[in-house]
């Protein structure tokens, strides 16, 4: 794993020749050695078609390619950083939460609206995910940003996890999510508990939750 955590807001990444990293533009804090930062025209992996896909899906966070030999420190906006190691499984995360990830991971955009119909659209609106999300697959590690510290909640069969949509960061594994609402007449007169919408994640995997209801 090329990433090492320096403190809860900074990671250090080893860059070796032939192993490139992708990172959010402007997220470099410092570097030593001979490292170059190239703006990534297509905003990630894949060709021009992937770029168009990302543009359409609004998952086109500006990325840069980090290449060379040395070590780079990443951090952005004073947000907390969480490292996730992927061993062949898939991470679903919003593109603007990606601080840096290894070039060995396959990046693609996924349509989320298929899960849950109209409620899926509402879910996209509430979580800020929109209808699309970015998925990363393969062997490698990812540094994800969150406002406040991140906790991992395991999801096992038969025990769904309910998450505040605003505190949701990412999830991995074979997970279905749907928005469950507990809207009542109290919400209509503005006397709700403030927890009218919850994200229900079921299946098998892990969900990452931030200790804040503030989005990035």
């Amino acid at each position: 794993m090329p990433f090492t955590k320096i403190n809860n807001k900074m990671v250090e990444a080893r860059v070796l020749p032939g192993q490139r990293l992708f990172s959010q533009r402007g997220a470099m804090i410092a570097y030593t050695g001979d490292v170059t930062f190239k703006p990534n025209l297509t905003g990630g992996q894949g060709g021009v078609m992937s770029m168009i896909g990302r543009r359409v899906a609004n998952e086109d966070t500006p990325l840069m390619t980090v290449e060379g030999q040395g070590s780079v420190m990443f951090g952005h906006g004073g947000h907390h950083v969480h490292l996730i190691d992927l061993a062949g499984d898939t991470l679903y995360v919003e593109a603007d939460r990606l601080l840096a990830f290894e070039g060995s991971l396959q990046q693609s955009t996924m349509f989320m609206g298929a899960q849950g119909g109209v409620m899926g659209i509402v879910r996209g609106q509430v979580t800020g995910q929109g209808l699309f999300t970015t998925q990363l697959t393969g062997q490698g590690s990812v540094a994800v940003m969150a406002h406040g510290g991140v906790i991992e909640l395991p999801i096992v069969q038969g025990q769904p996890v309910h998450v505040d949509p605003q505190a949701y960061v990412a999830h991995r594994g074979d997970v279905r999510n749907k928005l469950s609402s507990a809207l009542g007449w109290r919400d209509m007169i503005g006397r709700g508990s403030g927890e009218a919408f919850q994200l229900e994640l079921s299946g098998h995997g892990t969900v990452f939750v931030q200790a804040s209801e503030e989005k990035l």
Binding site: I29, A30, G78, Q125, V126
Partner: protein, 327 residues
């Protein structure tokens, strides 16, 4: 936390002993009660040692469950209270940036720089007229608590040394240090022997040169002889780079400009300079799908109002029925 506490997933309920309900004010636990409430979970497990009974008045119990209550004697002397607050044992003059004092014990006067009898003293160690309006002198005796936007605070010792720090990150310094403006705009240099307090977004990370640093992430540096700018536009070379340069398509990496440090010394880094946006407390953020989000509280009304539906008049008021029924 909901009450009664729920069992976490997949965990067996604790073999809980019922707590001895104690009348308020609480007596310290007797030995026997302690043994009862601490049931070893496995055979052969040692009981933790009994904490010594405090003489006289019971001290606040610091078991990590509640807030730690400090008084003027228990506040640390020139040390952090927690990562975000710093306690100064004041005895004499002390420089601090405006608005960083959160509380104090004792008899302390705060006066702006450039006023009154202090000016004579100041001439020797405050050589930055540009920043004079941002600083105040605290004088007197007592305990002074400093904090800054929930940033991490640290105190640094200088022994006949020099350290340059971003002016917004410097909170306070002892008058044994001399403050000067750095050649790099926006930075202040401290020279001499003494302590100062600086803030950083996230803990400070120390690195040794040679290194190139993003200007935003730089907190300061010590002893480095030659801080300089480094511009990196190598991706603008070649055919593709030429197109990028001419059309602007592809943009910039955002990392063309760094501060470069060489030579012996230390460079201090933080996660980023960007601050959390100020926001008033208690209003739900305006977001699609969140009922009542972003509607400011009406003065004189307890809660939010219904949207105005045309034809029904102002539903939100209804003669303030909701408020009268305490909804």
């Amino acid at each position: 936390m909901s009450y009664p506490p729920q069992q976490p997933y997949g965990q067996q309920p604790y073999p809980q002993q019922p707590y001895q309900q104690q009348p308020y004010p609480q007596q310290p636990y007797s030995d026997q009660q302690y043994q009862q409430s601490y049931q070893p979970t496995q055979p052969g497990m040692q009981l933790p040692p009994m904490p010594p009974a405090p003489p006289g008045a019971p001290l606040p119990q610091h078991d990590g469950s509640g807030p730690v209550v400090h008084d003027v004697h228990s506040l640390p002397v020139n040390d952090n209270v927690n990562p975000y607050a710093f306690s100064v044992d004041l005895n004499g003059p002390y420089y601090l940036q405006k608005g960083k004092m959160i509380a104090y014990y004792g008899d302390i006067r705060f006066s702006g720089i450039g006023r009154g009898v202090l000016d004579r003293v100041l001439e020797q160690n405050f050589n930055s007229p540009l920043h004079a309006s941002d600083w105040v002198v605290a004088e007197g005796r007592g305990k002074l608590l400093l904090a800054d936007r929930a940033f991490d605070l640290n105190s640094y010792d200088l022994e006949n040394g020099n350290l340059t720090v971003r002016s917004g990150n410097l909170l306070a310094f002892e008058p044994t240090l001399a403050l000067k403006q750095s050649i790099i705009p926006g930075f202040l240099t401290l020279i001499g022997t003494g302590k100062f307090v600086a803030a950083s977004n996230g803990p400070v990370h120390f690195v040794e040169p040679p290194i190139r640093v993003d200007p935003q992430a730089l907190v300061g540096w010590a002893d480095c002889p030659a801080p300089c700018h480094h511009y990196d536009h190598s991706y603008l070379h070649g055919v593709l780079g030429g197109i990028r340069h001419l059309t602007g398509i592809g943009g910039a990496s955002g990392e063309e400009h760094q501060f470069e440090f060489i030579g012996a010394g230390q460079v201090l880094l933080q996660s980023s300079e960007t601050l959390m946006a100020e926001r008033s407390v208690g209003v739900v953020a305006s977001e699609p799908g969140v009922p009542g989000g972003g509607v400011p509280q009406q003065p004189g009304h307890g809660g939010q109002q219904l949207p105005n539906i045309p034809g029904l008049g102002n539903l939100g008021n209804l003669g303030d029925l909701g408020r009268r029924f305490g909804l």
